[in-house]
Symmetry: C2
Amino acid sequence: MALIVQKFGGTSVGSTEKIKAVAERVLARQRQGHQMVVVLSAMSGETNRLVALAGDIQKIPSLREMDMLLATGEQVTIALFAMAAKEAGGDAISLLADQVCIHTDAMHTKARIENIDTQLIRKHLASGKIVAVAGFQGVDDDGDITTLGRGGSDTTAVALAAALQADVCEIFTDVEGIYTTDPGICKNATKIDRISYDEMLELASLGAKVLDIRSVGLAKRYGVPVHVRSTFSENEGTWVVGEEKIMESMLVSGVTYSKNVARITINKVPDNPGVAAKIFLPISDAGIIVDMIIQNTRAGSLTDMTFTVMRTDYQRAMKLLRKIAKEINAESVTGAEDIAKISVVGVGMRNHSGIASTMFQIMANEGINIMMISTSEIKVSCIIEEKYTELTVRALHDAFALDKENVPQEEQTPVPVS
Amino acid sequence: MALIVQKFGGTSVGSTEKIKAVAERVLARQRQGHQMVVVLSAMSGETNRLVALAGDIQKIPSLREMDMLLATGEQVTIALFAMAAKEAGGDAISLLADQVCIHTDAMHTKARIENIDTQLIRKHLASGKIVAVAGFQGVDDDGDITTLGRGGSDTTAVALAAALQADVCEIFTDVEGIYTTDPGICKNATKIDRISYDEMLELASLGAKVLDIRSVGLAKRYGVPVHVRSTFSENEGTWVVGEEKIMESMLVSGVTYSKNVARITINKVPDNPGVAAKIFLPISDAGIIVDMIIQNTRAGSLTDMTFTVMRTDYQRAMKLLRKIAKEINAESVTGAEDIAKISVVGVGMRNHSGIASTMFQIMANEGINIMMISTSEIKVSCIIEEKYTELTVRALHDAFALDKENVPQEEQTPVPVS
């Protein structure tokens, strides 16, 4: 008998028919002899509907009240799920975050889970009930409802699995698992069977939207095996596990891209100590996340600072930087929004050199200019012109032979580097 | 400075525009120097939407889960209201039943309030906040959400007013107050300025749908002054208060009718001791409410039992009674659905005889046959053929001169009784 935490997202519970289907599926699993905890999101469209109502009323909504409002979405789903499970002949009980005691800090709309009391859940599991928990929400020390931000239901599920020491946390989604790249761009994209937490962290942050990045970090910290799989099939999906549980590490696991990128350059910055802090502190205070940073040295005591931000923050960042540029006597601020970031990820890189240079060579062969480069232990990212995104992804995916499923990358001959 | 509890129903908060208008109104009242507690219902249509979702899933919904589901409706409204009050320059905080500690019994979907902890509300009032409380809901000893049944927000408001010893409980609705009869039937119907709790109890139970009957009982027990008034005007509405606060009691305060009535007769019942219990116990066990009961003695040891039930229970009651009739050896069960109940209500009846006979005379003048009669201290009800309903209401309203506002009935000459 295993203890299984399952999470179903908004599209999986988008109608009463779908909720019934989910209930049948959970019940079938329980009948195999397992204890079942189910974390549910709001029905698809519901959160947007509520956000629109708030938007009609306040331009900048009060965060505490926003959480009070949004938390109703998941509450509706868990109640309907419990009804569906009972109607299908099972027994289920819905529980809100404050009933489960999912304690968070008081950062409304982006709260972090501090601890979970599993007593009530264990009591209901012991009595044979399926426990349906509202995803995405928590309760702070004042007893106020908090929410964990978009994608928060994944975090709820993994946190519950960790607290309950569950055997597995299954994340159900509308695709079959994690893919080597975006199947919409590259028809050869294949499902990854196993991937390490670290690789998944890189993939999640780079735009693979299947699994929320915070939940992956949490899964890594507590060693929760996560199984990302399809709501609409019984197929095995992708297991996200510790590196030690992957027999043969892939040199490259996946190719990802993001178009939510913009580049900003501050030209001719007087190169004094402390100048970087003067630039980046106000940006960070404004809640703008800076990704890559490159500093080019010019002749003399002037330097150019180039960095990337999310495209959605671009206008705000430009406005702020023009002010800063004046204060530090830089010449000008320039920028571009028509860029994209392409990354290759793989834990095999740790003990295998040459991935970066292979990547650059492939792109050179296609005539694609690389504007910025950043690397980590298990990732290489390049900034290119946006219009080359699809071409680059396909070229890299082919070159690293990601379409050949179950053939470990280390057996492949990398493209020779000149 | 007064402490005012205001309740706004679903039609008053049916859109974000209406919620903004309500917030402006509450804020204006606060600026006059009052402490404001606002009880809100679900936006009109929302409860029906949620009930329909549940109906898609379970034929007979699980009551605990139904409460979990329905409670989201009011939660949405209080969050939006608090946002609207802030946007309008005020300060407000929304609170759920479990935050306020509105403790109820565990009778899901029709729970009764046991006690309310006013500490948190008083704290927020003291800091100048408008406190928005979710109507209709409570929390039981297990920490589960309960709901008070349709019309429950009125009860929440009056219970809060009682617990807070508020100066007044204002119930906002889409009409100007309580009327002497249905303005849709009788164009001379006039708004009642003041009415006693007892009269209101009779009026509420007889079909005046403006104020939930349980809330009136609660108001009477705790002496809460209730002011029923319009959301859409600043006019004074109807005050529901203790009898001692009404200077001159009206002989007749209002004329009401109900078409949700059906009549059932069990013919030739052997008149043994205990036979009434054999008939009415199973009916009560089935949750069917019996209103008037008349027993006619026939010659010999046989009797006819006639009584009324709600028309919505008629088919179920008939089925049950045919079974019972066999068991007690009664001859047959007959019934009629095309009847109506007409009532006149007034505390003045207590010390003034002749109202009933006046009523019968007026109806006789119009040629209307009275099928059943029932009386209480402050009410006379007659069952008639349904098609005469409007005619009877108008005739009684005119005869008791209810269209002459502010003229106490005792100064009128009643229609002479022959």
